[in-house]
């Protein structure tokens, strides 16, 4: 067993998991509180990356780029909620799917008009472009930064949800929406803020990953399905569930990609292991989800209250 490799892979899994968490947390809150299926959540991830790339190119500062991206996506999220989404809360899930798919097409087309089909790249400052080496153990500095930012954002969200008045309302909304309305809370404003926070988290994830993968049109659609899987495995409406599920899926996906071919070679021919491993590792997260739902049809940490169907 190569322990250096294993630790590297665990860190890689952690990085992927934290990114997924940033996406899934908003998605889960939006569904848990507003009962709204947002397929276009990935578009906020893309907008964050693209805006961040442009600002980075203009200012040369990744920090300003990240701040600008988060603010921009917060505003875009609030605008989308105000223009479109708030009119759909009383419609059924089919309508949500239809409208938010339409939103994906709109976001992708508009982004293409602004940034061109190639998208945009972000240059990393020299300090972040390097690696941290401890003995034989090497990890790119920027990946550590992603992990740090992801943990920080997770902690921030945790305090927001558990320690603030807004968080109290959010938790109350997730477990019993009817009651919160009955208590005289301005539910429209609460919804708008939750939606915008969710969007901003996705935008933050976008600008975090963009220096690694570049910002390109349609990047949100590549990850949104996995983010939904995280929401489902974690249990709808539960930020805690989203966190554990995201890490679980991050580790499983990364370790699957790393070790599955070696494992399969133990009892398959090299040839068939080579073919089967990538297919199986692509399926792992779905198998996990199906497995979880068989045992716990409401996910691992469901925040289900009285208004869950």
């Amino acid at each position: 067993m190569d322990w250096h490799l294993l630790i590297s892979q665990l860190l890689n899994g952690l990085q992927l998991g934290l990114l997924l968490f940033l996406l899934a947390a908003g998605l889960s809150l939006i569904f848990g509180i507003m009962d709204f299926i947002n397929l276009s959540h990935g578009s906020f991830y893309m907008v964050g990356a693209l805006v961040g790339a442009s600002v980075a190119a203009l200012t040369g500062s990744l920090l300003i780029a990240a701040l600008a991206a988060v603010v921009a996506v917060f505003v875009v999220g609030a605008a989308v909620e105000w223009l479109v989404v708030c009119r759909l809360y009383n419609k059924d899930h089919l309508d949500h799917v239809l409208v938010t798919y339409g939103l994906i097409l709109v976001f992708d087309s508009v982004a293409r008009m602004i940034w061109g089909p190639a998208g945009a790249a972000i240059a990393l400052p020299e300090a972040l472009n390097g690696r941290i080496e401890i003995g034989d153990f090497v990890i790119p500095a920027y990946r550590l930064l992603i992990i740090a930012c992801g943990l920080l954002a997770a902690a921030g969200l945790y305090f927001l949800v558990t320690r603030s008045r807004l968080g109290m309302l959010i938790r109350a909304g997730a477990s019993n929406r009817v009651m919160v309305t009955a208590l005289g809370v301005n539910i429209d404003r609460l919804y708008r803020i939750v939606f915008a926070i969710g969007a901003a988290l996705a935008g933050f994830a976008g600008i975090l990953i963009a220096p690694l993968t570049e910002a390109h049109i349609g990047m949100g659609n590549e990850i949104i399905i996995i983010a939904f899987v995280v929401v489902i495995v974690g249990g709808i409406g539960s930020v805690k569930g989203a966190f554990y599920a995201a890490l679980l899926i991050g580790f499983i996906d990364t370790l699957g990609r790393s070790y599955l071919d070696d494992v399969l070679k133990l009892f398959l021919s090299n040839q068939s292991a080579e073919t089967a491993a990538p297919a199986l590792s692509a399926m792992l997260v779905y198998i996990l989800m199906a497995g979880v739902l068989v045992c716990k049809p409401q996910g691992l940490f469901s925040a289900a209250g009285f208004n869950r169907r």
């Binding site: 790249a121 990393l124 690696r131 590549e222 990609r257 080579e274 990538p278 692509a282």
Partner: protein, 397 residues
């Protein structure tokens, strides 16, 4: 290949029906199927620009006929590509169908075009099926067979004394072709191979694979990541600090579409990286100089190899029409003319094998900065002269 009677009858009927119209045609209609939407649209745009430039260089006419090019977007989906091809063949009644970035779109669409007795010209995709068993007298290519560039790369690796190799390719048919291509000629040991998730939810974070590659202790890393995935890969490769311990050998990854963005992101790591290809922007032929110069003047970037192949596609059609004096009614004459490849290709002279794929040189290209400081690829050596794909033998034409 077996064809049922009705299909042959339909083909003959279609050919007959087009006779009177074609004899008096005053223009030639070319359908061009490529990807214009989705992230891969950046490739299609490059091809479209090259086609338009080629038509413009011809003065909008081929052998006295007006040229009309109908572009269709395949949406990166085989079924949509086939639908658009149906439309071009059955409704617009084009004379030639060309384009096709992706093997699966080309395969799905080929039957429609060939059954209708029309010419199909691939401007990029080179699946082994159409090069081998399913070759067709009306199918031509201005590109290559998928395996050729990686085979050349395997040869380069041998020449450079690389003993152990790690391979990373996307998990789809062309990706597997690339891997098997390099494995066919590489004489050292392949110490690891990763097929990464591809498609609509493709994987762009290669952390786990790069960590494995580093741990494998290989002397070289072979990759194939077309389109925007290439950018993502190279960035992470550089950030992982692998440039000095695990030199990069790529095919169809580092091109004029990705290089300006690498430069924008100041990724010096890609300078000096090696790839194999049948063409480069600095190949010294008059046609190529003119093509590259005018393309750059128009669009501000070097043309990609996709663009070069598309430019050649139009000129190949032109050569056929010049040979028949603008007569579209005689497919045999057109075919015979195309087989000669008698035109000024941007890659220099080449000839066609019996499967109608080019027999051509393959070069080792290196990433360099040009006189203006722009990053581009430049020919470093000739790997193969007059190289033919390994499937031509299976073709019974």
């Amino acid at each position: 290949m077996k064809l049922s009677k009705p299909i042959i009858a339909a083909g003959i009927l279609a050919a007959l029906a087009s006779l009177p119209a074609a004899a008096f045609a005053e223009r030639v209609k070319i359908g061009f199927v490529t990807t214009l939407t989705t992230p891969a649209g950046v490739i299609g745009e490059d091809m479209m620009n090259a086609v338009n430039l080629a038509v413009e260089h011809l003065g909008g006419r081929m052998a006295g006929l007006d040229v009309e090019v109908l572009f269709e977007d395949d949406n990166f989906k085989p079924e949509v590509g086939k639908q658009k091809t149906d439309k071009l063949v059955k409704r617009d009644d084009v004379d030639f169908v060309a384009g096709y970035i992706w093997s699966n779109v080309l395969l799905a669409s080929s039957k429609t075009v060939l059954d209708a007795g029309k010419f199909l010209i691939s401007s990029n995709a080179g699946p082994s099926q159409l090069a081998g068993k399913s070759c067709h007298r009306n199918f031509f290519s201005t590109s290559w067979q998928n395996d050729q560039a990686p085979e050349a790369m395997g040869e380069v690796l041998n020449q450079q004394g690389v003993k152990t190799l790690y391979i990373m390719v996307p998990n789809y048919a062309a990706g597997k072709n690339m891997a098997s291509g390099v494995e066919r000629t590489f004489q050292g040991e392949v110490v690891g191979k990763d097929l990464t998730k591809w498609g609509k939810d493709r994987q762009l974070d290669f952390s786990a694979e790069l960590a494995k590659a580093r741990a494998s202790g290989a002397e070289g890393l072979f990759i194939f990541y077309p389109g925007s995935a290439g950018g993502a890969f190279i960035k992470q490769y550089q950030q992982a600090g692998l440039r000095d311990i695990l030199p990069l050998y790529s095919v169809f990854t580092v091109d004029s579409i990705s290089l300006p963005r690498f430069q924008e992101a100041r990724m010096e790591g890609v300078l000096g990286s090696k790839s194999t290809m049948f063409w480069a922007p600095d190949l010294d032929y008059p046609a190529n100089r003119r093509f590259v110069r005018d393309f750059k003047a128009r669009h501000g970037t070097y043309p990609s190899f996709y663009a070069a192949q598309s430019y050649d596609t139009i000129n190949l059609i032109d050569s056929a029409l010049r040979a028949t004096g603008g007569d579209l009614s005689d497919p045999d004459a057109l075919r015979a003319a195309m087989r000669k490849a008698d035109y000024e290709s941007v890659r220099g002279p080449y000839r066609y094998g019996r499967n109608h794929l080019p027999i051509q040189n393959f070069y080792l290209r290196e990433v360099v900065a040009d006189a203006d400081g722009d990053w581009t690829t430049s020919v470093a050596a000739t790997v193969y002269e007059d190289h033919q794909d390994s499937y031509a033998g299976e073709c019974n034409l």
